[in-house]
Symmetry: C3
Subunit: 276 residues, 3 copies
């Protein structure tokens, strides 16, 4: 049952709002992909700020429109900052996007993921299938920060159940990204089919997607739609980048993703978005 039209119209409008309102998005994230996260937020029309010291984290959250927490290069110093910023965001009713990079890969990431989910009310949890299955308490395998093949090969029906159940349990939107993206807020479910296989060959396309979700959350109150917005934007721009630069190589493809986000508009979303 496609509800494509409705979704692409909502996403297009939300993108227009991002470009008009330029929401400040606070990112506590990893040092591997942080530059791309900042640049993709700027390309979307949002305004990124990165601040991770406990002495200012909550203060920066206070002036922001959304918070993105990413544990890609987790370290003890910043965990308290993530918690403090998360609590401040909750207090102010600001959206919190959580990207549990590598959950399942080490006890440290597992324990931190658990703690963040217990102490902070998350608006959108975005991860790959291995990460989301792990958080759901299901058997999962992981390959470092990438999903394992066995996890990604589960069918859409099972994937929908995973997303829906976790969304209900955590009372948030859960987004599982991969070849097919599955997004659910417990009631609604969307399946997105944009994207390109080259996206897996650039580090941080997951992190960037979470950042984009943060940008959309910064102007919208329906975080299910905001999650779709960020994920669909990355999927569409992956296709455009592949078309424009895929033949050249992975370096050029990487740059072309940022180019495509900067050129994205509601018409392109309407023409290319594939949701059901």
């Amino acid at each position: 049952m496609y509800m494509n039209n409705e979704i692409v119209i909502k996403v297009g409008k939300l993108l227009d709002e991002v470009r008009n309102k330029k929401p400040l998005v606070h990112n506590i994230t990893n040092y591997v992909t942080v530059n791309d996260c900042a640049n993709i937020l700027l390309a979307l029309g949002a305004s990124p700020i990165m601040a991770d010291d406990i002495k200012e984290a909550a203060d920066i959250t206070k002036i922001s429109s959304a918070l993105v927490i990413n544990i890609g290069t987790l370290n003890e110093r910043t965990i308290e900052s993530m918690i403090a910023s998360g609590k401040k965001a909750n207090e102010l009713n600001l959206p919190v996007v959580f990207d549990p990079v590598g959950a399942g890969a080490s006890e440290f990431r597992n324990a931190t993921t658990k703690r963040i989910l217990e102490e902070v009310k998350i608006s959108v949890l975005r991860g790959n299938m291995s990460e989301i299955k792990f958080i759901s308490g299901l058997k999962s395998t992981t390959k470092g920060v990438d999903a394992s093949e066995s996890d990604t090969n589960i069918g859409n029906d099972e994937g929908i159940n995973v997303a829906k159940n976790l969304a209900t349990k955590l009372n948030c939107t859960v987004a599982i990204t991969g070849v097919t993206d599955i997004i659910s807020d417990g009631n609604r479910v969307a399946i997105l089919e944009n994207g390109d296989k080259m996206l897996a060959n650039v580090t941080g396309t997951g992190c960037m997607t979470s950042a984009l979700v943060g940008g959309f959350c910064g102007v919208g109150s329906d975080y299910f739609i905001a999650a779709i917005g960020g994920i669909m934007s990355m999927g569409i721009c992956g296709e455009i980048a592949s078309e424009n630069a895929g033949q050249i190589g992975i370096g050029s493809f990487h740059i072309a993703i940022i180019d495509a986000i900067s050129n994205l508009n509601s018409e392109i979303i309407s023409n290319m978005g594939k949701a059901q």
Copy 2:
């Protein structure tokens, strides 16, 4: 009163010197834009080194020709390194460039900015209008790490007063960058009019400008001219990048900035530089 000719000739000569002497520039900076700062210094002909641990910061400053301090992702661990390196630079009469990223956005940044300015003699202070107004003790608003519109919309005359007064007070060169750049050492004032609005859409163009100023300071003893050199270089290369890649998107524009700096020479500066 244009003194364009004099300035572009001095900047061109200083660029030639950077390319000949390849000054080592020590950067204690943020992890968001650090790669671009290193690459733009290499593109300019300088040699970057990043080192922020208290156990080596001053040692690295000692072998360098200039120090750049940037508080973009300030954390408690590196503040002492910034101070130690700053004091070592002062002791050795090496130039210190200070980029107070986000001053005004949190108590932590404010207090650290104050402490650095008290304990380290700065050669060039480069920031946006919100940051510089904040440091001047004037009413300012900030949008995270970007200047607010109300701050940037003050006229050139008022801006000149802000720069001149703070330069006199701190006994250094103050550079306020924006659509128009205002540089003053308390006596002299330069207004630069190069640049492109796309520069605001790439993260770290301010940080990169400060790094470039550090490169020019590494070979010059007139830090007012060195500040102009770094800022004019970024402005001109923003125009070139916009011309060459602006139509493609923000990712390509970003790369084209580095390309343009690597191709910059005194002839281009002489043809394109706009100073008064």
Copy 3:
């Protein structure tokens, strides 16, 4: 005495294996070039993971096929992680690549380099001539993180002696990269002559080379050949990038390196590799 044919065939086969097996490579590295290191590993076909907190470093090493330690932005927090991961890799017989960035430039880097070499059995030590001479206890000068001219101008014969002696002493493969690359495991010696002078103008081409060596080590048991594989790949791709984008500028050349690695195959290696 060229043994070019034998080498390029072995390197080509090893590259095929990297692309088939996608080894997970754990990097504890600097925040300046970390994004490029991750992306070049992906471009090679490997899977990068960056994790540097003591609470998970050894756990992440445990699930990886190779470890790369790089002290480019050394700090006290991560030294213990480097040691713990190194020891875990030794325990599991996993290859360890060590890039002693800036050894010789500060007491802190010197002491840490010494400690790592004492406590961890290294498989491949890759550095520039200044770093390797310093570690060998020979008189060397350094220019921050770059080799000094006086060090790089020693002849190949002397360079071979430096590499061979240190390889014997440390019982590992030593790779000295520069205009000419010298690799020795104490018995065998290879001289590689690929590369382009522009590689010195992009930050982190040394770090990226070490990461590539880590990728090759992740699938091979002959680390001498794996070291050649990583270094030759970077050299060849530097030539390709220079041909394709050198005229445009350093930013485009940087991207073209990643492009070339992503397009690299055994045929290109066979056609372009220059070893003796």
